[in-house]
Symmetry: C2
Subunit: 161 residues, 2 copies
Amino acid sequence: MTDIAPPLIGSPNLRPFTHSLPMALLRAREATMRWFRPHLAAHGLTEQRWRVLRALTSADGPLDVGQVAERTFLLAPSLSRILTDLKGLGLVHRVADTVDRRRTLLSLTDDGRRLVTRVAPESESIYGRIEERFGAERLDSLLADLRELEDALAEIDGGGR
Amino acid sequence: MTDIAPPLIGSPNLRPFTHSLPMALLRAREATMRWFRPHLAAHGLTEQRWRVLRALTSADGPLDVGQVAERTFLLAPSLSRILTDLKGLGLVHRVADTVDRRRTLLSLTDDGRRLVTRVAPESESIYGRIEERFGAERLDSLLADLRELEDALAEIDGGGR
DNA sequence: CCCATATGTATAACATGTGAATCAATGGTG
DNA sequence: CACCATTGATTCACATGTTATACATATGGG
């Protein structure tokens, strides 16, 4: 609408920065995380550690590393390190599966559960404030769009089918 | 649709993962970047290095580090390291401002400009494919929503004004 | 039972994210 | 001019992202 793309003398024809999807997603995410980070940091948590604790909280029983990776959207190397830290902090158990000994089973310790109980309410409250600022229905609609974008871009083949 | 949020026996009342805004933004961004990374990597570029090159390309003249940081949305420490790399690759100039000697002025070398010229077309083409998959108007609308989200969350004060 | 292969995690190596500290240069102010 | 708070950039320290590789255990033929 308002972007009239000046003729850019002598430079390749590149779309303006802030109008590019990756940058827009990055900026939106950063604007969001800025609200959560101080609260999490106050409890000695990073965003990623919190994701792991949440995944284990919402699970019925123990999860293996692969399941947690999938649910937290963390790559295996990052997750491996984070689990070492969380175990060091006494927040998670990390025991080998007795059936398939390649698997490591993960669950919260009592301390882990207590921490989640302390952190969760304020975390939800922050989310509520965000919802309030942007509008609840708009947020739902945005989430739906994001999911559809993700689905639309899921299979990479670029048209060669 | 199919997720009916079970009553979560005995666990804190936490919104399901994939319904949280930070995760949704993260997943959408990753789904997007998956399309660009192979192309950039084929030219020895990371996403962040490419952002710096683009910023310098679209500028009228030299930029100082602060300006590039703002436009690329990179934090100063990351940018500092990336500039060292880009200078090492002979893609950017990095000279002290003669007027205010705290400032470092950045500009593309001829090699840098040539590289941008080689990379840009395919990059635009990928963006075009993404636009095609998701729909151009929908993408515009999504970008507008993301920007408004960013604006809505810009000032952190939680309502205490 | 032995092997080749597949699978689940973990490590290595390098680049970036993030917050804090450092350091040089600048611009008032007395 | 000397002082000092401010600013621009870098560096430090630690956590994570990203890709490639290693390692152990499983699994399915011969």
